[in-house]
């Protein structure tokens, strides 16, 4: 195991983040605050509680997931896309590092950033709404697993993308709609029956449901099923990454 290499990549990626710390932290904090002003205070005041949870508190897990998915994907995809774009990837390709080490460095850093950001959003939310976390360890487990899974997904996008548009298109066209339709702002049980069934094909539903369960102990879908779905998605991403390095897809001609 080339630990020095993992540390070098991980440290490099985090320092890239720290260089733009202001914008990386301020923008999610502001956007979360806006959500609370609009959904929590303005609309939420008129909404009843859902499953015994006040609307303001109900949307917190979904909001964290929304940011977690976006940040994981954009951090990880950008992190590997930039060296490909600038040509500095030559160094990683010529270094005595295995695929696992490269992934640990890049994906580990991206996941670290989004976990920190998720926690920051939870702290920000606390300024607006009082809430409690029923299962803190499970909450953290969901946070980390989701961050890792979607950082891997972002890593795959970053390798696949051969232009900035492609880098943006998957998050914009697929992930954001799925998150909004995934029950960030409502319970799936509020949907008409047909749509409830359709929603079960949306992987984000499982993420948000499981995460919300760790807060309030209630969920649309059993926590065990949610966990299993995250693990399935994680395995799929790992398999794709493994295939990428085995074939050199978009990395080596």
């Amino acid at each position: 195991m080339n630990l020095h290499a993992i540390r070098a990549i991980y440290g490099f990626e985090l320092s890239r983040w720290f260089r733009t710390l202001g914008q990386s932290i301020i923008s999610p904090v502001i956007s979360t605050s806006l959500y609370f002003v609009v959904f929590g205070a303005a609309i939420g005041a008129r909404m009843g509680s859902i499953d015994g949870v006040s609307y303001g508190a109900f949307i917190i897990p979904g909001l964290v997931m929304l940011n977690l998915l976006n940040e994981s994907i954009s951090n990880a995809s950008f992190g590997i896309y930039m060296p490909k774009f600038s040509g500095t990837i030559y160094e990683v390709l010529s270094a005595p590092v295995s695929a696992a080490e490269v992934v640990l460095g890049y994906v580990g850093a991206a996941a670290t950033k989004s976990v920190l950001l998720g926690l920051l959003i939870l702290v920000t939310a606390r300024l607006f709404v009082p809430y409690e976390i029923a299962h803190p360890l499970m909450m953290f487990g969901f946070l980390v697993l989701t961050a890792v899974t979607f950082s891997l997904f972002g890593f795959i996008i970053g390798i696949w993308a051969d232009g900035f548009e492609k880098l943006q298109i998957i998050p914009l066209m697929i992930v954001t709609p799925l998150t909004f339709l995934g029950g960030s702002f409502y319970s799936i049980s509020m949907l008409p029956p047909v749509w409830q069934t359709i929603a079960l094909f949306n992987p984000v539903v499982y993420l948000i449901s499981g995460f919300r369960w760790s807060f309030y102990g209630v969920a649309d879908i059993g926590a065990g099923v949610s966990l299993a779905m995250i693990l399935v998605f994680l395995s799929v991403c790992l398999a794709v990454v493994w295939w990428i390095f085995r074939t050199g897809y978009r990395l080596k001609s």
Partner: protein, 308 residues
Amino acid sequence: MESMISVKGLTKAYASGFQALRNIDLDIHRGEIFALLGPNGAGKTTLINIICGIVRPTAGIILADGHDVVRDFRAARSRIGLVPQELSTDMFEKVRATVSFSRGLFGQPPDAARIEQVLRAVSLWDQRDAKIMTLSSGMKRRVMIAKALAHDPDILFLDEPTAGVDVELRRDMWAMVRGLRASGVTIILTTHYIEEAEEMADRVGVISKGEIILVEEKATLMRKLGKKQLRIQLLTPLSAIPTALARYPLELGGNGCELVYTFDTQGEGSGIAGLLRQLNDAGIGFRDLHSSESSLEDIFVSLVSARA
């Protein structure tokens, strides 16, 4: 001679179907400076990139210090440093940070003193905390050299290290490369400046259209393929070469004012003394003599054009 890099039957066909390398066999000796010459598109960069792990070989085996570069890539690559042809650096990083990054990436523990040494060796110590984007391209080239040296490789690849580099920096680089060689590093460089190969290399390889067409000690090559010329400036023009001199390969130039005598450097008894005596006997006076030797460049051009 012990081989540091051994390439056997290396073939590369790019995804486009283009055959960039054809059955390359090449041995680089431990501790030598090997210059790889060849026209644009000959396959120099492809060859280097395959050895370094950036491009995948289609067929063939490569050993670096006895380690298979594919199966035993960790051992092989940790011994190799590469300065690629393209200038690609992390624009927003600082010089020292990027060089430390390279050291870690290649599996070495952090060592501030060593990084300082490397930066001083390439005259970048004063710029250690500068962002790379603020450097001139010659300085960026040196950053890339520092990155390649940060993990103390035994083998160094320099893919056109002096392209777009001014004369002074080029001299500095040559001195640095010689210093590395003296410390036991094996160096493989590609260049379009033949004078560079002539000045630096122990051995020269010529690649053309994906094939190695020649590998030779530089000195031997120049001796074998080099030509010497003696130009004799005559006092009075001649209309034809006198029959008395027919046994010499002479040409008449400069409107009959100059006799050009071309001979191989191999044949030691070149017969200049004899020729001058014959001239004297024939009553042909001359006012000046000028001799010249062909450069590696002439040899290279004639080799490559002979194959074209």
